[in-house]
Symmetry: C2
């Protein structure tokens, strides 16, 4: 790690993701009834993704969280994305993971209006990440799975987030995704911008 | 601001402060009954401060938070300290402030077992800060009200928090106080340690 700090000029818009679930069609039908189809509440910034009108209740050993949004379209695996604050409220200890990496993750109970489902696994705390197109990645000198840092400079809770994963794909639009703990700790709201930066915490730590 | 990053070697233990209230004796009696005295649940690290057995309910425009701990002893002003996540749950928009700086802050309704109180003001999001003795401050080359940065390096949610206020007083013990959003965003728990660091986000930003 460099001892010298080299700020990169790119500004990156952010989105703060509140707790949400991705569900399989099978689980959707368990919770909402046979043949049920999700309906679109509002499109999300990543192409094809949407916040559904449908919400569920998560039930953990020490608490419940109601009105948890389903993000569509249906997926091939059930996945529950929580902030650490949510995990504490529910009594669940889920690891930091990239979306889709669900091995050895805890499960949870989900309740819907027509039934409930008990997931054997699938609860994660999503690793912060930057979606970007391959063109953006080229311009920034980055590639898929690189780790970068970003600086929050627009308010009086300035900070630098390290360990931000780059997720580059033709379908993605440039956007840093934080969970609500990260966004709230930095006083950020969706639509704010951060700078690519470098997490220089001393050459002696490498 | 320096372009060069100069890590400082000091390790600082942290404490994560969950939402809590400091109350006047008058408000305590409104909530718990005439002549009521707080009882000690457990001492806190700063000398003389304690978590009381007593808790209250906070009632905001969009939600309630139950079991909110009172921190004793009683004070001369009512003060409610929330994380931003708590503010959103309650529907309150409180500014980042140092403890005691309550001018132009929003109020809130507080319920206890024997009555309720409506504060006209006193709700804040506590600025992160490091308590330290005057001796510690001397050793670290810091003084009361200095602003520093700290680096979280012990896990895979590394980050640097800027805008950390130094609060030096003979009565204080060395400890970084974060709120739950900050602690959870960094994957920290009370008792973990951070390093003094420098928030180097580019000379062009000063």
């Amino acid at each position: 790690m460099s001892e010298h700090f080299k700020p990169l000029p790119a500004l990156i818009p952010i989105a703060v993701s509140a707790r949400h679930v991705h569900l399989t069609q099978r689980t959707i039908e368990q919770l909402f009834g046979p043949g049920y189809q999700l309906s679109v509440h509002s499109p999300l910034s990543q192409p094809g993704q949407y916040a559904a009108n449908e919400t569920v209740t998560l039930v953990g050993p020490s608490g419940r969280l109601t009105h948890v949004r389903i993000v569509g379209p249906p997926r091939t695996q059930d996945q529950v994305e929580l902030a650490r604050t949510d995990e504490i409220a529910l009594g669940v200890d889920a690891p930091l993971r990239e979306s889709g990496d669900l091995e050895d993750t805890p499960g949870i109970r989900i309740e819907g209006p027509a039934g409930s489902a008990t997931l054997e696994h699938g609860v994660i705390c999503a690793l912060r990440h930057i979606h970007m197109s391959l063109t953006d990645a080229d311009v920034l000198g980055l590639k898929d799975q690189d780790q970068v840092a970003v600086a929050v400079i627009h308010n009086n809770r300035r900070m630098i987030f390290g360990d931000v994963i780059v997720r580059a794909s033709p379908a993605y639009r440039l956007e840093l995704h934080l969970d609500t703990d990260e966004g709230n700790a930095a006083g950020l709201n969706s639509g704010d911008e951060v700078m690519l930066a470098e997490l220089a915490i001393g050459a002696n730590l490498d």
